[in-house]
Amino acid sequence: MTATEASLTARLSAPVRFVLGLGLLVAFAAAGQALVTVTRLPLPGSVVGLALLWAALGLRVVRLHWIAGAADGLLGILGLLFVPATVGFIGFLSAGANWGLWLLVMTAGLLLGGGVAGVLASRLVRPGQDGAQA
């Protein structure tokens, strides 16, 4: 039964598999949104959808090769998908000199956060086959 399913999905052409994958990704986004609406959790539906998909992959309800093409395609153009939102900065051009302060705060957060993450992670990393034998 499972073998038949695997061979069936393997026979699908790449565009069809892309459509199947996109459909599943949209379905998980919708499921996440529905769960958030019903439970009134203050979480974005898509982040809940991410967790649901991870669980579904782990439980083998969803096979990686069904969604891999669509996921890699979408993630490859992730930068494009937030252009409509970032263009909105033109609404804040009047903030003028405040941009300097915003960048200052952001840079401080990046250096402190990135520094703490880097130092802690390198202390806790387990030596192994990763190439960096300690």
């Binding site: 949104q33 959790l41 992730l78 909105g88 956060g113 993450a117 880097g118 960096a132």
Partner: protein
């Protein structure tokens, strides 16, 4: 239709530029944003009208965030082996980053809009955009500051990490992903596969942690 076309072509131009110029400033999102914004400003077109038309593009945001489960699932063996380093390092770094953003924006007396937008800056832009409805930040500003955070992080973090002696590719990648998300991850991949892998885990952890923090703040 013309606005979707302009956005797609401007992004492709940004990618071409990135291939030619090896600079973090040649970032496709930044290039496309500047081109589209320039045309809108020159034509006197309001952002709301532009948003209305490019809605099909925006609709792909939610499935794209869901798709982040795929690289994280692929790396599950690495995640299982190095979970202590990744989880403790990533979560602490994101928390310190968010804390610093909140603290410094209060100390400098920034406007409420800016404070609420900076809160989500260490999370990837689609998450910041989604969270804006809970923080009460203007979505456009929250998304813009999140992308800028990735951009500035990609520019300064690799050199800074070298300076403070963080050499392990896993730690370097995690640190970049934890605060500089997608744009940072693209930069981290240039250092090697492990660095890029750790960065996408850092990006995922940051998205989850920032979401939890915002959920806590908006409840309290």
């Amino acid at each position: 239709m013309p606005w979707i076309a302009l956005t797609l072509i401007a992004f492709a131009l940004g990618v071409v530029l990135q291939l030619r110029v090896r600079s973090p400033l040649a970032n496709p999102t930044l290039v496309a944003t500047l081109i589209v914004a320039g045309v809108l400003l020159v034509g006197g077109i309001p952002h709301a009208r532009y948003l209305e038309e490019v809605r099909p593009l925006t609709a792909l945001l939610a499935p794209a965030i869901v798709a982040l489960a795929v690289p994280m699932y692929r790396l599950r063996a690495l995640l299982a082996r190095q979970w202590r380093s990744l989880v403790i390092g990533g979560l602490s770094g994101t928390l310190v980053g968010v804390g610093a953003d909140v603290l410094f924006s209060r100390v400098l007396g920034l406007s409420g809009e800016a404070q609420r937008s900076l809160l989500t800056a260490p999370a990837t832009s689609p998450v910041a955009l989604q969270l804006a409805q809970f923080t009460g930040a203007p979505p456009a500003l929250a998304a813009t500051l999140a992308v800028l955070s990735g951009l500035v992080g990609a520019l300064i973090l690799p050199g800074f990490l070298t300076l403070i002696g963080v050499k392990h590719p896993l730690a370097r990648g995690l640190a970049i992903g934890a605060v500089a998300h997608g744009v940072g991850t693209a930069r981290a991949r240039e250092e090697g596969e492990l660095t890029g892998a750790a960065s996408s885990i850092g990006m995922g952890l940051a998205a989850l942690l920032v979401t939890v923090v915002v959920a806590g703040v908006s409840r309290g």
